[in-house]
Symmetry: C3
Subunit: 346 residues, 3 copies
């Protein structure tokens, strides 16, 4: 696959500055780009390093003012244009239809049109898998699982019974979807009785799920991940959590049972959301922050445990850092007061 | 399986209020319950929502005062009664004895009575697996592993050599039991020498272990998880940790080497316990809290890093939040003092 | 394998105190050691417990002054000597060359000299695996993967395409090496476009990687883990991170994209390093600490979120703990001032 630069401008927009007839074959980084490759640069002026790129074409910001010995495409967001042209230059190939001979597929299967089913895959009863989906080696799929078309499940993932996964999802290696939620009822000295974990897990279209991430099934209801949501590695999403559309969840974050994360939220890494909390649409939670049970967090940027608006957090942090000075001032006041007191007594 | 409501009262206790002859077939949530199903409600009065349940029977608190058009069973803990009747209505079936033809089982096997061994399972030498246990697809079991009866190991778990797992345990997908502990001795500029990790891991009866959780083997001694302890997903338990009975450990918590968590402790999510710490029986540690090395934490509720008693933590947090006001007061005092000083000098 | 104590002194150094002719067969803990076994003790004087060891030989510190009824070897670091003699007494055996019949190995394979390839392993095209390496059951290896000699990959790991792993590495069960980094570009209301994740992952020699740990591939460049670095369980290392040599990373720590951790750093558990941060050689980061984006952290001990030098952190913590007293003092000053003010007005 290749495009002329003119064609690229047609595909992703922007203003051409230079020779549009050059053929582009691949994307690359500034440092590694070779002739015939396209890269991007996000600042208006160049560092020394950048001047040495061998790329044949660069996406640059509209206000880019420096000189570069290659064709430029001026765009609003060079990074976005770069990501878009990558998709065009390297489209996901329709896999050669192939069910590996070692895959173990239940005979009570409803319908399997997957493009690829790899080695040592197990697929349970009454499953449906859509066209062009790829199930890599060692994936274990339970009973009554629905998987849409164009979805990729990387090696050694486990999909429990009754899970539903949409179209064009990517699920990375070792992810566990639909395991029992963590629910027990204390029975005095007898220990714990397991609360039923018989609900379902629904992953909507275009969701990406990171390596070794865990998304539990609902207890009685469902756990749901909305369209276009992107989840990083080692994330925990507990039973009955409701994650909206276009939510970004960075690595090692944990979302407790029955919590709601509305559309377009962004969660940093290692964030903890307690049970029954609600993040309203547009909330942005800084890394390592913690949200208390039942809290409602409005749109805006939040940080700390328990979370505070970022400005407040910063102000408070500054106050804490000023404590040594505060103590000093108090001491000075005391001296002054003692002095004054002496004067009066005299 | 089904019971009349009268039979249910007999099985889990409570006071019948309504028609006891109705047959119950399944548990469900308030919202989704249909005729013939039982649910539960934990408050004394009803929300609008609840009035619309189609359940045939509800567990309610003893002091429940509202009206509902279905049979009620008044109990001390509706949720506990519900969990108990779930177990009776949906008993774990004895699996049809089946060793899948693709499973690879060492011939030097001591004794295997497991109900089910799934596809692509590997079992090493000198293992013993008890009756009715189920080893799902892709599980890898090393040498000299003992597994009791009625235990379920979900797909793609890894059980290293010399691990011992009791009866009626549940181990969720991707959990890794008995990997080497993390121990190295610095050898100056040469880097690190690996400290021997040749101990064992013991999981007692009725333990549940979450998806992708890791429990390391002892270095020279053993790592032990006590009876009835429940561990959530993505938890890390390091070498030589001693976890007592009926301990609850929420997701993404980490327990460092040689730490002791005594019986009936509760640990929230993302808690960090440093090495050689001791949580005394009944300690409750709030989410994201951190316990320092060698600390002894008494019974009670603790929060923050380093952990403090919850009351102290809250008081301190209030003080910090009051810092802006404190600075203001100090400023006022200074003005007052300056004024007074002026008066005196005049 | 066995050595006389004299031979052990020759192998790991130290000063012999007692009978050097005794034969030693194994290492063990003080409590469990039997005749013919060697253990170690790190303090200069004995606890009651220690007096009861049945070990035939103990490594003790040079200044050890107590009496023990067994041969002693006085060394600078008893633990290091113990770890070293363990390696000598229990050398890793060259595995019997065996490719399990169920392993699925692409025919376009470049070169495979591995000592052991276990059950249900998949190896892709153009891979090279060095001598004496062991690939345990269920491991999935993609295309164009290089693995050195003497490396052990435990069950159910996933190695994506284009990953390079050096000699004598140990990768524990369920680890995922080379999954896509977490990179998306927001495209307004349309959601997110995936940023290309087409770089590589390089693991140098003598690296140990814990169970269920995830190390992503570079976006356009590479993610690199330096020689002799040791990584615990459930750690997240994001795209393009550069981890130096002899770095220690404890469990559940997360290192964000493009961060640099220089040689000989030590990171406690549950630490979070934001993107584009740099830890200079010799930085030691306490458990649960957090480093902000783009920060440069010098050598020394750091703690808290955001990280501070340990001393500062402690001082600040003391100030916060003193806030109740500070408020009290302010109140007293106010009373004093009011009193004084009264005097003046009279």
């Amino acid at each position: 696959m290749s495009f002329t630069i003119e064609k690229i401008v047609e595909l992703v927009g922007g203003k051409l500055d230079g020779d549009g007839a050059i053929e582009i074959f691949a994307v690359s980084s500034l440092e590694k780009a070779k002739i015939g490759e396209i890269s991007f640069f996000e600042k208006a002026d160049l560092s020394e390093l950048t001047k040495e790129t061998n790329a044949s074409c660069l996406f640059v910001p509209e206000n880019f003012e420096d000189f570069l010995p290659c064709t430029l495409i001026r765009v609003k967001s060079p990074k976005l244009a770069f990501a878009k042209i990558f998709e065009k230059l390297h489209p996901q190939k329709s896999p050669t239809v192939k069910i590996h001979e070692t895959a173990s597929i239940a005979s009570e299967l409803k319908e399997i049109r997957a493009g690829f089913v790899g080695e040592f895959v197990t697929i349970g009863r009454n499953c449906r898998i859509g066209e062009n989906s790829q199930i890599f080696g060692g994936v274990k799929i339970g009973d009554n699982v629905l998987i849409g078309s164009g979805t990729i499940i990387y090696p050694n993932c486990v999909i429990y019974d009754n899970v539903s996964i949409g179209d064009d999802c990517i699920i990375h290696g070792g992810a566990i979807i639909g395991a029992d939620g963590f629910g027990f009822v204390r029975d005095g000295a007898n220990g714990y009785v397991k609360f039923p974990q018989i609900g379902s897990t629904v992953i909507e279209n275009n969701v990406e799920i990171g390596a070794n991430t865990c998304i539990d099934r609902g207890a009685l209801g469902e756990t749901r991940i909305g369209e276009e949501t992107k989840i990083d590695n080692l994330v925990q999403i507990a039973h009955n959590a409701q994650i909206g559309k276009r939510v970004i969840i960075a690595a090692q974050t944990g979302i407790s049972g029955s919590s709601i994360v509305e559309d377009d939220c962004v969660l940093g890494g290692q964030v903890g959301i307690s049970d029954h909390a609600t993040l309203k649409s547009g909330a942005i939670i800084g890394a390592q922050a913690g949200v208390l049970p039942n809290k409602i967090v409005r749109a805006g940027v939040w940080w700390g445990t328990p979370v505070q608006p970022l400005d407040e957090y910063k102000r408070q942090n500054a106050h804490v850092k000023g404590l040594a000075r505060l103590k000093e001032e108090l001491k000075e006041l005391k001296h002054w007061l003692a002095e004054l007191s002496g004067k009066i007594d005299n």
